[in-house]
């Protein structure tokens, strides 16, 4: 069973990036443009501090508890009952995040590709892929992330091409007029897009060489930041902060301005590749949630059944996704829940681990 979910550090890197880069990044430039004007991209660098700390904390935590999985770690540090409750909250948060992301993704697909197709059909098709991938276990999820990463690179090329057709360098200037309040507000928005780093907590015990986790996690964050920077800077160059803030999905709208012969419309091709990238954002936390629950309830043989069950839950949940007018509210809730669960839990665990170092070891021996 454990080999079914084993991944290597390179796969971990791609899983972590894949767990962060998703639909939100197409909307991100608009929020940042509104919050911080031409400094939109600075917010991304600032916002990256949160997942940076998060990853380092989890890495440290994992190093202290080598050999035990997340469930054992929670229960050893917080006690059986409190640990179990916290794990359930964590798993619930992951499932919730998946549901929200899938809902937003389905709305995006409806908007650009299939306006008349009902939401449930779009979600169901996507969910079938997600269930299939997750049911194959961590190794396959890892490999899938490796493959789909090339899709992300390709889609970044798509985003850069419009800049050739229309750009204005003055949109990025002046650089000096920084306002801390604006930057912080912008950085808060970026947290939505950086959520997903917390799945390292689940995956740490599945990596074959734990000593490589730190570098992999840092690289993953670097890749995510680079992706967001590319999108934000390209949108700024093309639209300017003021116009950018008016779009729902500036990351897609930017593609509509290129006038490339033969490839008439960029956004369709982009979205065709994008589907895989976004589903990665759904697959990774779903897998993390499934793995957490399997470890918690000790039901390795029923893994597929559990995945199917989670799939149905997410499918039903995604039906209630609000329209795009509610996106801003969703992003905010998402950021808050990430900060309070994905970010805080590992931090608290690390503190407990630091304080109770001796006790835990004694418990483990007993």
């Amino acid at each position: 069973m454990s080999r079914m979910h084993q991944i290597n550090s390179r796969q971990l890197m791609f899983i972590l990036t894949g767990g962060q880069v998703g639909t939100a990044m197409l909307a991100l430039p608009a929020l940042l443009g509104k919050a911080a004007g031409q400094h939109a991209w600075v917010c991304i660098l600032l916002g990256a501090l949160v997942p940076l700390i998060n990853l380092l904390v989890i890495e440290n935590l994992g190093k202290r508890h080598l050999g035990s999985n997340m469930v054992q770690m929670f229960q050893a540090l917080m006690g059986k009952v409190a640990g179990t409750i916290c794990i359930l909250v964590f798993a619930f948060y992951l499932i919730g995040a998946t549901t929200v992301l899938l809902g937003v993704f389905a709305r995006l697909i409806q908007l650009f590709l299939l306006p008349k197709t009902p939401l449930w059909v779009v979600v169901l098709l996507a969910m079938m892929c997600v269930i299939y991938a997750v049911s194959k276990g961590g190794r396959v999820v890892g490999r899938l992330n490796e493959t789909l990463f090339f899709g992300l690179v390709l889609s970044m090329f798509f985003i850069v091409i419009p800049v050739y057709y229309s750009h204005d360098l003055t949109n990025l200037l002046p650089l000096g007029e920084l306002d801390v309040g604006e930057l912080l507000r912008g950085a808060f928005y970026t947290i939505t897009t950086f959520a997903g780093a917390e799945i390292l907590l689940v995956l740490y015990s599945q990596v074959d060489k734990p000593e490589e986790v730190k570098v992999a996690a840092m690289n993953a964050l670097g890749l995510s930041v680079a992706t967001y920077l590319i999108v934000a800077i390209c949108c700024l160059l093309v639209f300017g902060a003021e116009r950018m803030a008016r779009f729902t999905w500036p990351g897609v709208t930017i593609l509509k301005i290129a006038h490339v012969p033969v490839i008439e419309r960029f956004e369709f091709y982009f979205l065709a590749i994008w589907v895989g990238i976004v589903l990665r954002r759904v697959i990774n936390p779903s897998f993390a949630a499934a793995l957490t629950l399997v470890q918690l309830f000790n039901m390795e043989e029923r893994y597929n059944l559990l995945v199917l069950f989670l799939g149905v839950v997410v499918f039903v949940g995604a039906q209630f996704s609000p329209n795009t007018m509610g996106n801003q509210i969703i992003w905010n809730y998402f950021a808050i829940s990430y900060l309070s669960i994905g970010f805080t839990f590992p931090l608290v665990l690390l503190l407990i681990s630091l304080l109770r170092k001796g006790t835990v070891k004694a418990n483990a021996k007993a």
Binding site: Q11, L114, R143, L144, V262, F268, A272, V275, G276
Partner: protein
Amino acid sequence: MRIIPRKPAPSNSQTQPKSGGLPEDPVPLSLKDKNEMLSPYLDKNEDINKRDFTLGSDLKISARAVYLNQVVDNDALYRHVLDPLMHFPLTVQEGLTPALINVLANSGPSVGQVKTAATIKEIVQHIFDGLLVVLLDGYQEALVVDIHGGEFRAVDEPPGERTTRGPREGFIENMDINISMIRRRLRDPNLVVKKTMIGRRTRTPVAYMYIEDIASPEVVNNLRQRLDAIDVDGIVASGYIEQYLEKSPWSFFPQISSSERPDRLVAKLMEGRVVVIVHGTPLAFTVPTLALEFFQASEDYYERTIYGSITRFMRFVAFFLAISLPSIYISLFSFHPELVPFKLLLPVAQARSQVPFPVLIEVLIQEFIIQLTVESGLRLPGAVGQTVGVVAGIILGQAAIAAKLASPAVIIVISVTTIATFVMPSSGMLLASRILRLPLILICGAFGIYGFSLAWLLIVIHVCSLEDFQTPYYAPFAPIHLRDLKDSAIRAPLWLMNKRPQSLPVTNQTRQVKTHSDGRSDQ
């Protein structure tokens, strides 16, 4: 997979797998009794020759040679077995010792393998395995002589894998000749050949070969175990065994690659794979298998790097087109016409406006017709097959357009797809692309480009999930092995491939020391 434990067969064909209830009784001494005892097994077959003769020039012992017609080499039979035996200088003393049979075996027939057999079961099986059995009057043990011969197809250019620069030798139906073709190319004493027999009734000889200090012992053991577990009454061709070995039989993708070229198999052996040769099939298959192998042709390595790389890359493009071109056509013309260039859309739309079917049905009809054409062309003899192809390709296409049953665009799309399909160098992936096309057409007919993306995503997930003989099928793409990408969508110069593929489990990684074109080497 159901594993039935069974003792592995030793290398010579003396093994006795379970066979249809032959008695293991020893045969009687007198020739007459022997004949009577064996007659229920032999007399019903009219292709069994029985030649009575007297052994020895001095002391004469009546004997009988029993063999299958046209399976033994007649020339060897007369010159090297019967003649020496008939004129064997036998004295009375010698004739009365029980060691006579050993004397005969050692200095009688002047041919390769001679051994003895004493039970009915052994004797009958040897006869049906194609060996010559000499029964002697007054001696219990019979002489068994291997003079396999008879008519075989000559070694010929492999029809399925032609090259312009490589050797022109292909496998034939005789396993031993096939093994010898590999041996002649790979003179490494570490090349191990193991033989076994599969099939209760067909008793098909199967050989597997590997290089002992390269191939992973786990893979070899695993293969042996799985070959031994096959318990079936008949194996007619190697395809049977492939199906018993495949781990995911419901997958669209071929998981065992085969070849009819000894040169290609030698290259595979040297990458650490195990080659399995089945008697009666002019093909050998190798395990473990990567998806990538189906895109590699031996020509890639014989041509210069640039040419090899371009053709390799084109094959990947062709595979993508073979699967997706019709579905892209449907997505564009039935869901997202905005994507089509203005100057292309108008003529297509005008032509389409005269066709009574929706785009999806139009594509399905044409696809069906072309699949029929391909099938009929494959089975018909060469010249007729070509004629059918031309008739279907040109005349049917033109007629369909004239009759307004199809638009010109769809004919082009389906034709290009078909051509792209046959770019694949191996039949396994070729069939996969022919089949995969259909679900893609259907899903794109319902969901356009979104369906297209999801379908490809499913394909990728599926391919990522395939794994056998400790080898991920989709390597080196996932898991990524950067070193192996040198020989993936492109083919790097041979002098750069210092190590064996990382994707395969091998015990010895080094293939060469870095050699420079001026003769220096980095030792």
